[in-house]
Symmetry: C2
Subunit: 235 residues, 2 copies
């Protein structure tokens, strides 16, 4: 096999940014790095891509090896290629991200692994350029959450407004005024009020709601109404 | 300097997907590859990343070297890492894309270069996985065009409905019914009718319109009205 002449080679790695929602807060999954450099520092789940492996396959393998997590749908986020991002040797990293329901996967992350969930605001400083990777993943999540019901996917079928507000506050890292949030979300007419109340989390109780998915889809379309049948083209 | 042990190295390349609008049609810029393998076949503008260069810098350098184009704002699209995508040696490619006004840059693409603009529907078969790169870039452009006025940026300040329709038809690769398109776009109330008509392109003439950018922004926000101050968070 002819090789390309005189070209410089690099190492290829992957890093996985896993956000999780535990019903109240958005968290980030981290591990303590087990090898040099930066041994024992907090890190995203990362590793090198094997010779005959695609970056996608590597991301799934690395995530499973380091945390036990399996079957998580990760999307390619961005490739980080600054020549000096790894002090040992030039390593280009393809970053992948996902947002999961922590309870759905909690059996997989057993004590065999030393992965830990951190509140976003309590995230320790990470190695290399991993903080920048997390920032970009947050930005992408915020962008998506503004256009698509990705966050609703994480809530149970029936949820309360405070629960939804918590989730949005976690993703956008801000506190929303309770009355304003409630007014704005209800004015979209996308939520259907249920008869039952959640009485566990407050004395007064909070009504449960369901997302009107049909309506969400219709409203989404009406915004895009100068592109006929946007679903045909988008995604 | 300690090197990581036993890791496999890869070549790192970039490929540039440049879409252009000439006032009537969306086109794709291609070159004839000047080295083996696949010499003389049509290709995206691509090349290897130098030792001390970031992929972003490499994309700008490669684009300039192969076409003369300079100062084009390209965004990272996706990294293509299938182990067998290049038959000579494993090469991971970071793809970048941009959408430009062809007239604005036509002086730069001089006869010194052999880059050519192709109508999307007349695009020749490309080397390696470049057809897949173009497909993904088209998908991303369609997604963006549905949410943001990126296509309006390519039109002159005053434009006609047929001109806008042409642009959307090019991006979405479909024919829209003239009356429906006109009715839908006008029903958004985002276009402001001008007094003048374009009489060059039809006997009857077509009124010029301008985009009401303020209103566009307001309507965009109203769609996102359960996220307070979306601009603060998105981009």
């Amino acid at each position: 096999m002819n090789r390309y002449p005189l070209q410089k080679h690099v190492l290829l790695a992957v890093d996985c940014i896993i956000f999780g929602f535990d019903g109240y807060n958005i968290k980030l999954l981290l591990i303590k790095r087990s090898f040099k450099p930066e041994k024992n520092k907090w890190s995203l789940m990362g590793g090198f891509v094997e010779q005959k492996e695609s970056p996608e396959d590597a991301a799934n393998r690395v995530l499973k090896q380091l945390t036990g997590l399996e079957g998580v749908y990760m999307e390619q986020l961005h490739t980080f290629g600054n020549p000096y991002r790894d002090p040992v040797e030039r390593t280009v990293s393809v970053a992948y991200s996902a947002l999961i329901d922590i309870h759905e996967y909690e059996m997989q992350i057993s004590g065999d692994y030393h992965a830990e969930w951190f509140l976003l605001k309590e995230k320790p400083k990470l190695i290399f350029d991993h903080d920048g990777m997390v920032e970009l993943a947050k930005k992408q999540l915020r962008y998506r959450a503004a256009f698509h019901p990705v966050l609703f996917e994480l809530l149970p079928d029936k949820f309360t407004i405070p629960q939804l507000q918590n989730l949005y506050e976690g993703v956008y890292d801000t506190l929303f005024d309770n009355r304003n949030f409630s007014r704005k979300i209800l004015s979209t007419n996308l939520l259907v009020k249920q008869k039952q109340k959640d009485k566990l989390n407050s004395k007064k109780g909070a009504f449960y709601y369901k997302l009107d998915r049909k309506k969400y889809k219709a409203d989404f379309k009406s915004f895009l109404n100068f592109v006929p049948n946007p679903d045909k083209f988008i995604m």
